[in-house]
Amino acid sequence: MIHFEHVTYGYPDTERDGAHAPPTLADLSLHISEGELVVVAGPSGSGKSTLLRCLNGLVPHFYGGRFAGHVRVAGLDTCVHEPRDLAATVGFVFQDPESQFVTGRVADEIAFGLENFNVPPTTIRLRVEEVLDQLGIAALRDRPVHTLSGGEKQRVAIAAALALRPRVLVLDEPTSQLDPEAAEEVLTALQRLNADLGLTIVLAEHRLERVAQFADRMVYLPGPVVGAHGHAPLLGPPRQVLRHAPLVPPLVELGRRLGWEPLPLTIKEGRAFLSGLPGGRRTEDGGQKIDLSPPLIREGKGEGCVQRPFAIELEGVSFAYNGHPALRDVSLAVQPGEFVAIMGRNGSGKTTLLKHIIGLLRPDRGRVRVMGQDTQALSVADIARQVGYVPQNPGLLLFADSLRDELRFTLANHGLSLATAPIGLEALLARLGLAGLADTYPRDLSVGQRQRAALAAILITRPAVILLDEPTRGLDYAAKAELVALLKGWQAEGCTILMATHDVELVARAADRVVLLSAGQVVADGPARTVLTDSLSFAPQLGKLFGDPARLTVEDVLATL
């Protein structure tokens, strides 16, 4: 069905210092048979998207660059056939559901590809109904696309790709912009298409814990080729690939450390090994003793980022956007030095809550107190001096020609200069893993680096409180681990951290306390370990396995042995 033969590809413009940058794909050979579901994994920047774009000829036709070797899909050579001709053979779904829609309504969107291929209207009608049913979105037929939720949008995008009856469906991280439930919707739909229709599916995905179980095979791309040879991509059944891949989900990580055979991919498979462990599954009174009391309030140390610690208090805050309630009677007090994760589905009010703390939004009812004062009496600039807010999309912040200018700009806004900055530029960049990049153009950085560049632009003033909105979007396991280490470091120095996220594994490793929002209301507020263990949809993998608040991460479990 799909044949890669010695494919080597490098994007254009990768020439630096006169030398060619290493190619994104190097001598890749790969065969995928009909009906397989193949997951493409690997750290960000390892060429997952590039590999997928080879399948419908976007690489090299759309991007240019240097291409060697052959890719054949259903007998068609992608070098000879243009992407638009391959569209009927290869359906492609992109990462961001927002940016792939052309028309206003669901049915029209699905018909778009068929119209391009001059399919008679009667057939179009039939096909549209067919795919609407296949993806369980028939009720959305006449809805304007922009009123749909993220998961619905992504399913519409899949339906639009399927309407052409492609032989292969390719998806580039279709769930990375979605919350856990919406991601589940999409992945379940994919699994059904593969099982019921025998559709060949090639899927790039960061969250391997969701897909490893139903993948037939896995391709692991190890990342930019270093040196002459670099690492060869891993290829094989998921169990085999995950045994050797550097970045794996927590359950697999634990299984590898404890030598579980066969390597468990699902919670169900993991349960079988529990009896062999001391403590086993938690009994009524809990196996291990652990301190579940609220975390200690840390004192800011001399080197710390805190000017003066202060609490954040919300009292009965309600807020509505044009009559649509976003927060309802939210009360919350955050002590200095706490690390709080604000969790909940997309649209549950997480961002709105953060924006109230930084003063971008003022409550309709209730009060928000920051630095001991009501935010009604403070300007955003006043608050911003001590509260740093990192928005979801770092692209919104970065505009300057170099990272250095970017930081200088923030300082200048606060009446400071690089000389009078509370933390040295190089020291800050080094801590963020950006050492030596001060003169780089920020948009040339990788996704993870860009995220940290945005952090640097905010943290250069050393705010006492750091607010983060979905900091792990598009980050791989390694980048997440780095971020966790970084944030824990800042916390240890006395910073208060509030982080809106639906990344449960991140929360399990980093946060002390979890506030769970649903439809603008606080539905749970307590120590991270208890809230995460009690929740079904917001439980980390090992939390589901052990059901024990003391064992949520691999480190926890290893420590109890």
């Binding site: 419908n56 976007l58 759309f62 638009r84 001709d85 569209a87 009927a88 290869v90 492609f92 992109f94 961001d96 940016s99 792939q100 829609f101 052309v102 028309t103 206003g104 309504r105 049915a107 029209d108 018909a111 778009f112 590809g113 068929l114 119209e115 391009n116 291929f117 001059n118 209207p121 179009i124 009608r125 549209v128 037929r141 006449d142 639009a160 790709a161 052409l164 924006k355 930084i358 971008l360 955003v380 600039a381 911003a384 001096r385 740093g388 807010y389 928005p391 999309n393 692209g395 919104l396 912040l397 970065l398 505009f399 700009f409 923030t410 806004n413 948009r443 632009a457 905010i458 003033t461």
Partner: protein, 356 residues
């Protein structure tokens, strides 16, 4: 409600054309008020069928009141002609000092009425016809250009939202835009993210089979040259007609020949397009009814314009008198409420059996 109960975009365009021409042609405040009311009735019927429409009743009333008040007040302050002086503003005041007259007020109000009527028409058509739907009726050859325009329309709100988000993000960094020099932090991210989105969309459209060329390259070139020549002819003809009356016969000839060539070429180009259209709106009797009513109204208007132009023209200066009113014209304007009649009936109707 889906596609079914609604009027054909062509019917809407006929209605908007008739109402718009009328609003532009007449300066008679009585007729203008009636046309505005007719458009308002259509708006109300449409809103009843689809509650999500832009603006509620109070919003529309506020819009109408603001435009009328602004237009009237502005003309009263700045235009000092007219005989019926209401009061004097101190002549020391620049521009606005001097007599304030009733005539100026009436003139401003008439202008305001015309603007309000056109606004309501635009609001109604905007809510009734989606740009993507209009796209289906473009000749195949113009499809790409039309699609670009539609996408631009749908992107406009996205850009506004992005700008808002960028402003917030920079504000949080302590940025306070004061002058032109403070613009790059807002504009640069907007442009770069905009470009990134555009590339993403282009990629998605390519991956979905968009852009298959309809014609042989040689034919496409001939078509383009032909279109350019025909457009040029049309333009020159119109210019000649406008500037030199002596050239009129020649100009009219040129206009008609170029126009015919343009239509022919577009039709030919459309023939070659390998592109099907999903669910084109069926033309039903309701649509004929609306289009017919609009056409009859336009005919009445044309006859009136020819035979008794004084009916349509109303000039309050130098002294405001009651404008003329012909009951026939008044009742003809009622024809403009045709879409409202159909909108109500069409709500329950599923497919074809919709009686006029």
């Amino acid at each position: 409600m889906g596609q079914t109960g609604r009027l054909h975009p062509g019917a809407w365009l006929a209605w908007a054309g008739a109402a718009g021409v009328a609003a532009l042609l007449t300066r008679n405040p009585l007729y203008l008020t009636l046309i505005g009311l007719a458009a308002g009735v259509v708006w109300a019927a449409q809103r009843q069928a689809d509650k999500t429409a832009f603006l509620n009743g109070r919003g529309l009333a506020r819009l109408v009141a603001t435009v009328l008040a602004f237009s009237t007040a502005l003309n009263m302050l700045f235009s000092h002609s007219g005989r019926t002086v209401l009061f004097y503003l101190p002549s020391g005041l620049p521009y606005i000092g001097g007599p304030v007259t009733l005539e100026a007020g009436v003139y401003g109000l008439t202008t305001g009425l015309a603007i309000v009527t056109l606004l309501i028409i635009v609001i109604v058509v905007n809510a009734a016809v989606e740009p993507a739907e209009m796209l289906r009726y473009l000749p195949g050859f113009l499809y790409s250009a039309g699609l670009v325009a539609t996408i631009a329309l749908t992107f406009a709100p996205q850009i506004r939202r992005a700008l808002l988000e960028i402003r917030e993000a920079q504000q949080v960094r302590g940025h306070r835009p004061r002058g032109l020099r403070d613009l790059p932090p807002l504009v640069v991210p907007l442009i770069t993210t905009g470009l990134e989105n555009a590339i993403g969309l282009a990629e998605a459209m390519t991956a979905r089979g968009f852009g298959q060329t309809a014609l042989q390259p040689a034919h496409a070139l001939r078509l383009r040259v032909g279109l350019a020549l025909a457009s040029l002819g049309l333009f020159l003809g119109l210019m000649a007609y406008g500037f030199r009356t002596a050239l009129a016969p020649f100009a009219l000839g040129l206009v008609s020949i170029s126009g015919a060539a343009l239509v022919g070429l577009l039709w030919w180009g459309g023939q070659g397009a390998r592109r099907s259209r999903y669910r084109q709106h069926p033309w039903r009797r309701a649509d004929t009814f609306v289009a017919g009513a609009s056409a009859i109204f336009l005919a009445v208007l044309a006859v009136l314009y020819r035979l008794a132009p004084a009916q349509l023209v109303y000039d309050p200066y130098p002294r405001a008198l009651l404008p003329p009113f012909a009951p026939l014209v008044g009742s003809a304007i009622v024809l403009l409420t045709a879409p409202a009649v159909k909108a109500k009936k069409g709500k329950g109707a599923e497919t074809v059996g919709d009686k006029p």
